[in-house]
Each structure stands twice: as C-alpha cells, then as structure tokens.
Amino acid sequence: MPQIDFFNFFRIGLAWVVTIYATIITLQSLWGWYVWLAGSDKYVTMLRRYLILHSLRLRFWKLGLDVLICVLLTVTFGILWHAHHVIDDLKFRVQAASNVPANLKSR
C-alpha cells in the first residue's frame, strides 16, 4: 500500500489548483479588456488614448518600495523552490542508501 504524506499532498494539490485557477481568471480578464479596448468605436478610441495617457502619467517611484519588496519575495520564493528540489534529491539518495542489502553494507 502506497504511503501518502498528507501534508505534501495538500500543499502540492493546493498549489496546482490555485495556480491554474488564478491563471485562467487573469487571462480571461486580460482578454476581455483587450477585446473591449481594441474596438474601433470613437469613444473606445478616446478611452484607449486616455488610458495610455494615464499609464504614462503614472509615477512608478511612488510605488518603488512595494515593487522592490515583491521582487525580493519572488527571489526568495525561487530560492525556496530550489531548496525543495535539493531536499527531495537528498531524500531520494538517503532512501536509496537505506535499501542497500546488509552484506553489502558490511563490506
């Protein structure tokens, strides 16, 4: 009977579900905005230009600290991900070492 680690199962299952859900919702929303703003109507054109104008007027330095924190957190997340791979690899090697027959171990 396979051994199931419920913590890992929950963690990985949740990560997949949330990632897929968030990606689908984001893409749907972006596509909706794109289709609406790509319209040739006079007022939509005006709105499109107005949005571009507003995005040009946006001052990024005001949000700089938050953006920097987000970048650092993303880097930390990447390092943790890598560390997980290293630990999993280590676990695999340890399991492999424990399965070696006893006569081979005594040599």
Binding site: F7, R11, H54, A83, H84, K91
Partner: protein, 298 residues
C-alpha cells in the same frame, strides 16, 4: 458708380490702393451659382450686400454687370483702408476677414459723421456708397462729396434720428466710447467669417446708442442695443459655463488619477501578501522536508 473700369490694368491704378493686392485680383468668395443663374430676389439681395441699390438697374444684365464691377472695385481696394473704415465705424469684425466680407460690413455702415476717418478710408467708403471719386481728393472734398451724395430727405431723416438718439442717450446716460478692438480672428474653416455674426462683449461696447439710433432709427437702434447687450450677456454666461465645465473636467481627471494610484497600490499590496504567504508556506514546507529526511528516518 459706372466710372470704375473692369480692366485689370486700370483697376491696379485705382486710388486708395497704395499697396494694392500683391497677387492677381480675385474675388475672395464666389456664390455657389454663377451670378446670371441666381433667382431675381437672391441677385438683388446679393447686390444690396455689396452696397448697390437694385432699383437703380432696369435690367437683370445691368445689375449683374454692376455687381461684377463692384466686386472688382472691392478686390482692388486697400485692405488697410477698409480696416480704417471698420475701426472708425466701430464694427465688430475679425481682423482676418477677406476684402469682400469687409466690404459687406462697410456697405451696412450708414454713419455720416466722418470725424476720425482717414483719407484712404473716406475713399473706400465713397466707392462703396457709389460716389464718383478720382482718388486724389483731399479729405474736405471727399466729405463734401459723401454728404452731397446722401440727398436732402435722407439727411433730414438722419438729423431727426440723431436728435432722437441724443435725447435717448441723455435720458439713459451714455458711457464714453471704449477703445476699439477687433474680434478674435475667424477660423480658417468657418464659412464667411462666422465670427462677425457672434457678438462678444467687445462688440456690444463698440458703438454708442446715439450712433445706433442715428443709423437704424429709434426702435431699430434700441433693439440693436438690446440685442448686443443680450448677446454680450449670453457670451459672458457661456464663458462662465465653459470655465465651470473645464474646472469639473480637471477635477474628474484628478480624481481618476488618485483612483488609479490607489488601485495600483492595492493590487501591489495583494500581490505582496500572496508572495509573503507563499514564502512562509514554502519555508515551513522546507523545514518539514528537512525534518522528515534527517530525523524521522532514524
């Protein structure tokens, strides 16, 4: 009236045109149809706009010829002299009007007090009123010719209106004339210089009520004055409304910018919380895996 020639070479030598048109003389605005094709009433109206009296011409051909002649005369006129006349009569016009538009405005001037009008202006006015002018006359002679051209009855009527205008002005109190200012230039695309039709606060102050009554009679003068004042008031109110709308638009724009900044800050905050939670769960999971590998194994 008929002393002007239609020969372009002679037209260039007409008096009052020290700096005649630099290029070829071309009428600035053509009617949509050719003149001979116009209906009689339109043709007569067209003639009146150029200061011609249609009843002076027996046949249609003679009227058309007179209009042609008048347009050529106008094309040869000195623009600055025309502006002198407009300034003297305090007509609300834009400085960039064409010669024909200026001529139509001059044709509507009925003033007979020529104080302050330059010699070249008198020449233009005389030509527009159909006075026989050589071009080298001195100012007193030009004034005499213009007054002689008016006729006895017209003169008496004008004197009566002037007297009446003076009385009305005394009754309601006349403000002194302000300095003349041209209207803002008409837009290039506007047909016929529409700005002449839109009164502004400047135009309402251009002429005194006495001049108005002398020119248009008691009722007409007062009506003109009321109309100008109403136009001026309306324009002032329109300007105020426009300024209020502009202010509101600026306010809306400002609010939108604030909303945009707030919304982006909120999104980044949500993203930050998500990343914090991911990192914490990841770290916890890493510790869990580490413990599983190194301790539970034993």
């Amino acid at each position: 009236m008929s002393q002007q020639t239609s020969n372009p070479a002679d037209v260039k030598l007409l008096p009052g045109g020290d700096t005649p048109a630099a290029g070829p003389i071309t009428p600035s605005a053509q009617p949509s149809k050719q003149l001979p094709e116009l209906p009689k009433d339109e043709l007569e109206l067209f003639a009146e706009e150029f200061g011609l009296d249609p009843t002076d011409y027996k046949t249609r051909q003679s009227l058309v010829a007179a209009i042609h002649e008048r347009r050529q005369t106008i094309a040869a006129m000195d623009r600055e002299a025309m502006l002198d006349v407009v300034r003297w009569a305090r007509r609300p016009v834009a400085v960039n009007l064409t010669k024909e538009q200026l001529a139509k405005e001059i044709a509507r001037i009925r003033l007979m007090r020529f104080d302050g009008l330059s010699q070249r202006g008198l020449i233009v006015l005389g030509k527009m009123r159909g006075v026989k002018i050589q071009g080298d006359e001195q100012t007193p002679i030009l004034v005499r010719k213009l007054k002689k051209q008016e006729g006895l009855f017209k003169r008496l009527n004008r004197k009566r209106r002037s007297w009446l205008g003076g009385m009305v002005a005394n009754m309601i109190g006349e403000e002194p004339k302000s300095e003349y200012r041209f209207l803002p230039p008409a837009e290039a695309g506007s047909p016929g210089g529409q700005s002449t039709q839109t009164a502004t606060p400047v135009s309402a102050e251009n002429a005194t009520i006495r001049d108005d009554i002398e020119e248009s009679g008691l009722i007409g003068g007062i009506a003109n004055r009321v109309k100008k004042t109403a136009d001026s008031y309306l324009n002032q109110k329109l300007d105020e409304i426009e300024a209020r709308i502009d202010r509101k638009l600026d306010e809306i724009d400002q609010r939108l910018a604030e909303w945009r900044d707030k919304e982006i800050a909120n999104r980044i905050k949500i993203l930050k919380i998500t990343l914090w939670v991911s990192v914490i769960v990841g770290a916890f999971s890493l510790i869990y895996s580490y413990v599983q590998v190194y301790f539970w194994r034993k």
